[in-house]
Amino acid sequence: MARRRLRLIFGPALVKEPVIYQLGRKFEIVTNIRRADVTKDQGWVLLEVSGEPEELDQGVAFLESQGVKVEPAEGDLVE
């Protein structure tokens, strides 16, 4: 089992889509929302995901294929 801290960023087209629900249904991934700020136009969610590393990779790829921007929760670390 691995866990990752993610920041999901949604544009207006995705605000109403249940992508976190879909993530948990399509993959063996446990999701846990820690913080969020969602309006009708845009939003972000800080999400902890747990699962096998390959499953997490596929889950992130799925989110990105849906148009969700996926970043590490703490932002860019490269300096």
């Binding site: 801290r5 913080r35 703490e74 490269v78 300096e79």
Partner: protein, 412 residues
């Protein structure tokens, strides 16, 4: 009693024991080092600082290292604060100063943070130090790891410029060139901290690493005769150092090290090619910093999703500062302007800072007598390639090795 007593979440206030971690388990907010301020108040004084070493370690009381035996130093800090009269005359500023941090051992500001990070890692038993870097950080980490005799891993994108790779490799670290872009390096390192016993300078020991930034503002105040300036211009990458400079000003006031009670205006500088903080500052929602894809020559500050962007905007707004941005041409023009007027050759990030300074000055931001300090954070040799275009030699003439040719072609 130790002076650093734990970690605290900047968002929710949750407290943690002292350890190598950077994110709150509750809300994923950033963690900051917590000092025993009452104990510090009893020992911190101007006299004690002035009697300290001629490096940034004269401020050790305000850094998260308990025992000086663990300090890993190459003599970083106490860099020149230059009164910039010629640049000031061009910009209408009579009290303009430049804090020239390109004079650090590996020629960038990063030596301050890395010196603290590696000292902390050594004090806490780490045997391997690591970082994810665009160049300057890896350069500093490799040098200080060599100095400390620690194993070192630096993670870079595979296409990092050869000159940068060479200046890192000379210190003999393990260089891991990741086949991917900065985002890919970022993601990989986020996962690695879960499974390696390493101290990643800018990741899991970030709360201590970041504290080193404060020394730049401590020194600025001391070099101004223990006074804070009216405004400080700071380049913004992750925003991490911007936040610490505000904290440093607060500590200088709290511990009675500076005269007065005024906090400087903190102004941030970004390249328009990577300006997520600037974009948010000038939007209706400054607390919502949206990531961008960096596309700028100022690569050392090209952070598309800055960890501390929201805090930068709050500090700029609360202190009367602004966040401004400049074009690629303005960056290069500013590098030349600084070199031509003050004899200081800065990298592109310094071009961003001076570019923003010039832009704001020309727009009439200051009356002219304010004390304004710009932080020049890296040396021009790191990014000399951006000046290689022909117009960089506009005053160059080519002559035969004869007096005749000299007289014909050179105007004295």
């Amino acid at each position: 009693m130790p002076k650093v007593i734990g970690l605290r979440c900047r968002e929710c206030g949750a407290e943690y024991e002292l350890q190598a971690t950077h994110v709150c388990e509750m809300c994923f907010g950033p963690l900051d080092a917590v000092y025993d301020r009452a104990a510090l108040k009893k020992v911190v004084s101007r006299e004690r600082i002035e009697q300290g070493p001629k490096s940034m370690w004269r401020y050790r009381d305000l850094l998260p290292i308990e025992d000086s035996v663990n300090v890993v130093t190459l003599g970083e800090g106490l860099t020149p604060l230059v009164k910039a009269d010629r640049l000031g005359a061009e910009l209408g500023l009579r009290n303009l100063y430049l804090k020239n941090d390109s004079m650090n051992p590996t020629n960038s500001f990063k030596d301050r943070v890395v010196s603290v990070a590696i000292s902390w890692a050594r004090a806490h038993g780490f045997e391997t130090i690591a970082c994810a870097s665009t160049g300057n950080l890896a350069n500093a980490v490799a040098a200080y790891a060599a100095r400390a005799g620690l194993e070192c891993f630096v993670f870079i994108p595979v296409d990092l410029e050869p000159a940068k790779v060479a200046s890192i490799s000379v210190f003999d670290p393990n260089v891991v060139a990741v086949r991917g872009n900065y985002d890919d390096v970022n993601r990989l390192c986020s996962q690695l901290i879960e499974s390696t016993p390493w101290a990643f300078c800018n990741i899991n020991i970030r709360p201590f690493y970041a504290e080193g930034s404060k020394t730049l503002t401590f020194e600025t105040a001391e070099q101004l005769g223990w006074e804070l300036p009216d405004e400080i211009i700071i380049p913004i990458a992750s925003g991490c150092q911007f936040v610490r400079h505000r904290q440093a000003a607060g500590e200088l006031l709290e511990f009675g090290l500076v005269r007065g009670d005024r906090v400087p205006a903190f102004t941030g500088a970004q390249a328009l090619g990577c300006a997520p903080v600037y974009n948010a500052f000038h939007s209706d929602t400054p607390d919502r910093v949206l990531p961008v894809k960096p596309d700028t020559i100022a690569r050392s500050i090209a952070i598309g999703n800055p960890s501390d962007g929201v805090y930068v905007n709050r500090i700029a707004r609360d202190t009367g500062g602004v966040v401004e941005a400049v074009t690629e041409d303005e960056i290069v023009d500013a590098m030349r302007l600084l070199a031509r007027t003050e004899g200081i050759f800065t990298e592109t990030a310094g071009g961003v800072t001076i570019g923003v300074l010039a832009k704001l000055a020309r727009a009439g931001r200051w009356r002219g007598d304010e004390v304004v300090v710009a932080y020049v954070t890296g040396h021009g040799l790191k990014t000399a390639d951006v000046l290689a275009s022909a117009n960089g030699h506009a005053r160059r003439v080519e002559i035969e090795p004869t007096m005749k040719s000299f007289r014909e072609k050179v105007t004295i």
